[in-house]
Subunit: 114 residues, 2 copies
Amino acid sequence: MRIGDLSAATGASPRSLRYYEDQGLLTSSRSSGGQRHYAEAAVERVRLIQSLLSAGLNSATIQDVLPCINNEAIRTPWLAARLTSELQRVESQIEDLHRTRTVLAGLVKQYRVE
Amino acid sequence: MRIGDLSAATGASPRSLRYYEDQGLLTSSRSSGGQRHYAEAAVERVRLIQSLLSAGLNSATIQDVLPCINNEAIRTPWLAARLTSELQRVESQIEDLHRTRTVLAGLVKQYRVE
DNA sequence: GTAAAACTTGACATCCGTGTAAGGGTCAAG
DNA sequence: CTTGACCCTTACACGGATGTCAAGTTTTAC
């Protein structure tokens, strides 16, 4: 699977995929000519990266947290705390969004053209 | 109410309050010396702006949408569509975040230090 | 063997809300 | 008055993921 295929499969641009690799979030093997090749599993991985990015984790945080998923990670108090804190961030973000949704829904109701 | 008071009341920095005004999201009257004065209602307004910003609306969009709240707005099909589309965006964002939360919660469970 | 499509690295640009510094003016209390 | 806290405008910087351009190499198809 070359970068264009992975891009098509995930919706991430080749530019982004190279960036993920730069940041240590994604690995690839190289052909003799230097082109990237990806395993099937990369598709899932990229989807996960995108999901975490859109949840507001930055790539450094993702790098701290992602290895857990595939490798048997080192179970440190630090990592547990980090994960918990990110989880809480996401949860409070969801709460905020719920409030915003309520506001927007109210507006939609009010300003619908009858 | 001067800018420092409004800042304290909302948590938005004076810098941000001036920016909101620049973008047409917030109005103020000026003292003879040129300093901004805000009505009580500005507190609610700023909270709303913050909420919409954190929901991913940019200031141009907010400007399109915010006037509805105070003024009896022009009820155009265009505005209704705009609001609906933003609402849908927020809702799908909430869905995505739910999925992300599930992933993170799974990790937390798995990597908790017993 | 040749052309087109896809890939490589590197560098610079963009968005956009916010921080921050400079240099100066305003306002209220003593 | 004067002082100190607060405010004004202008301007530049940043973060961080992504876009884009350039110049060159690899791969694929014919």
